[in-house]
Symmetry: C2
Subunit: 358 residues, 2 copies
């Protein structure tokens, strides 16, 4: 048996599956999970698909104390023809390795990891829901497991993949959200971990999120940590603005997460020959455009919502209503095209989708 052969232990007590209208996000988990171990001697070894089960970890495991951990998020979609497909998993595994580099975690074999994900999704294929807008969320993550309280990279790790059937993000079709610009808290700063997908960035964001939720906002828009002037991204989305016919998104600067959806949006806009530019953009500039009637659309991009139009942006006591609080044309077209590709009802000119076969 090769080091790479995945051992499979079947779950003999499968759970009851939730109804598609109960799904919401990240609450239910499927019958199986993938696990692989790392140590210096063997590298990544012992890949296995086992019944979904608790992790058993020493209380001194580094992940609990020093947060040496990275994760990813992608989805499996059920097509009308009842096939299951992934959206750009190669991009997620590339990013996972970039995150690994930043967090001093050993790299994974990207192709092998995609194979393991396909294998796992195949085994739990009945968990991929079929109601419109639903999907199977895939959460690969790596945790540091060495029981050691010195501040140093762990000697051992586990790479784990869990699956969660998730509901339609928009219950009544794509719908604008209200976003508040965050002026007090900072998510990330150049030289920090902002461009990695790692736990600490999200821990840091909870407080800001909690405060704006009380005021009725869905998420915060983060500004740069240095000057608190330049727009970075939304809680779990990158962000785009249509200004005078041109689509602008903050340039990657070391503290912004490079979204797979962001990359796809840029490619689609270029393909459609709609002007799109990655550059620094400040809230002041954005507000000026807004006042001059030049801010035509604003939307976020991310795996969870795909495209999320921003109907209202609150900043320093000012409320900017964008496109009369309605979904813009470009946001709608991107949403329809991206979800069309993901669910297999639209042509896939870039070969973004990957079939799950085993």
């Amino acid at each position: 048996m090769s080091e790479y052969t995945i051992t499979y232990i079947k779950n003999e007590k499968p759970k009851e599956k939730p109804k598609s209208d109960q799904l919401s996000f990240g609450k239910y988990f499927t019958d199986h999970m993938f696990i692989q171990d790392y140590n210096a001697d063997k590298g990544w070894h012992n890949p296995r698909i086992v019944p979904y089960q608790p992790l058993v970890l020493d209380p001194a495991a580094i992940v609990f104390h020093y947060g040496q951990t990275v994760f990813e998020g992608l989805k499996a979609y059920r097509t009308k023809r009842d096939k299951i497909q992934l959206f750009r998993p190669d991009k997620n595994m590339e990013r996972l390795n970039r995150s690994n580099d930043r967090l001093c975690i050993p790299r994974i074999d990207e192709e092998y990891a995609i194979d393991a994900i396909k294998h796992l999704v195949h085994i739990d294929q009945d968990w991929v829901p079929d109601a419109p807008g639903t999907s199977l969320y895939i959460r690969p993550f790596i945790i540091s497991t060495e029981p050691y309280l010195g501040v140093a990279p762990s000697a051992t790790y586990q790479f784990i993949v869990i699956l969660s059937p998730v509901g339609a993000y928009y219950e009544e079709g794509i719908n604008p959200v209200k976003i508040a610009v965050e002026n007090q808290f900072v998510r990330a700063v150049k030289g920090g971990t902002g461009e990695a997908k790692t736990a600490g960035n999200y821990a840091s964001s909870l407080k800001a999120q909690e405060q704006v939720a009380d005021e009725g906002y869905a998420q915060v828009l983060w500004l740069d940590g240095v000057e608190k002037k330049y727009i970075e991204e939304v809680g779990s989305m990158n962000v785009f603005f249509k200004i005078n016919g041109e689509v602008v998104t903050p340039a990657l600067n070391g503290s912004i997460l490079e979204g797979v959806t962001r990359n796809s949006v840029i490619q689609l806009l270029e393909y459609w020959e709609i002007p799109v530019v990655e550059r620094k953009i400040s809230m002041e500039e954005l507000y000026e455009h807004y006042q001059n009637g030049e801010l035509e659309e604003a939307f976020g991009s991310g795996t969870a919502a795909v495209i999320s139009p921003v109907g209202e942006l609150a900043w320093e006591g000012k409320k900017m209503e964008i496109n009369n609080g309605k979904t813009g044309e470009i946001a709608k077209r991107l949403y329809d095209t991206l979800t069309g590709i993901q669910y297999g009802s639209e042509k896939d000119p870039f070969n973004w989708t990957v079939k799950v076969k085993y």
Copy 2:
């Protein structure tokens, strides 16, 4: 039985204790641990001291994904008269609650937590080593345990305390270390989580640490994340400079951890009527003082090393040798006094020590 009564399950298979010359830091753990659970209904409940054992957690537990976790570090010392005492545990529990506030984790009852720590240390009292400079490191920490992939504060938590006998930091008496000023990576920024003791700050620091270790430096000196000019702190220590007879330490600014040792150093210096000031200080200013022969001492302060003299500071290709690479007078006096108080051989004018009796 009150909600507050600690259940005790004795470890019937105690481990063999390591010899004091094998101890090093954070590698061995005692026979028991303290655990308490939290949920919204019951608040903190079910406090128990149980055999040291693995944690069993859902793979979707928030701590693995979004790093919602905080920790503390303090020590128990065995005195010459064979008593066991803690050093300012109230300060650690206050800081734990400040960290909790930042991370959206429910506050703990500080006095109760100190009691629980005393109780646990009492049970494992034979693990408090007696060789000079050794101690029992105490690691209280709180992890978020709800299995949920939405980015939101957890509904459930565990408060855990583990104990680790640790060796003398300096095997041959207090000894200066080499420190490198970090110019690329950033630990924390105002508005982030720098002043909280939370996992993400340490995850972020691993990469910088790894790079300087290759060049023979013990730790990095962090600069502020905004201008990368002002001195903040060392990996796990606050930092002090004696300049022209005055002791200077960076003022707390939201991104520096407020060390218990830092606070004790300031109090001692004031008590001794040695000028001490908390203010902003840039590397440029420090270097100027160094060139003018005015930089007389540099040292770090933290629970692990107590006082750690800095013999060499490397910054942008320049090497500053401080006090001829030797331990300075004030560093030595602080070290002797603080360890004297901690081990009960010196008077304790501030009532910093707390006896462990049960």
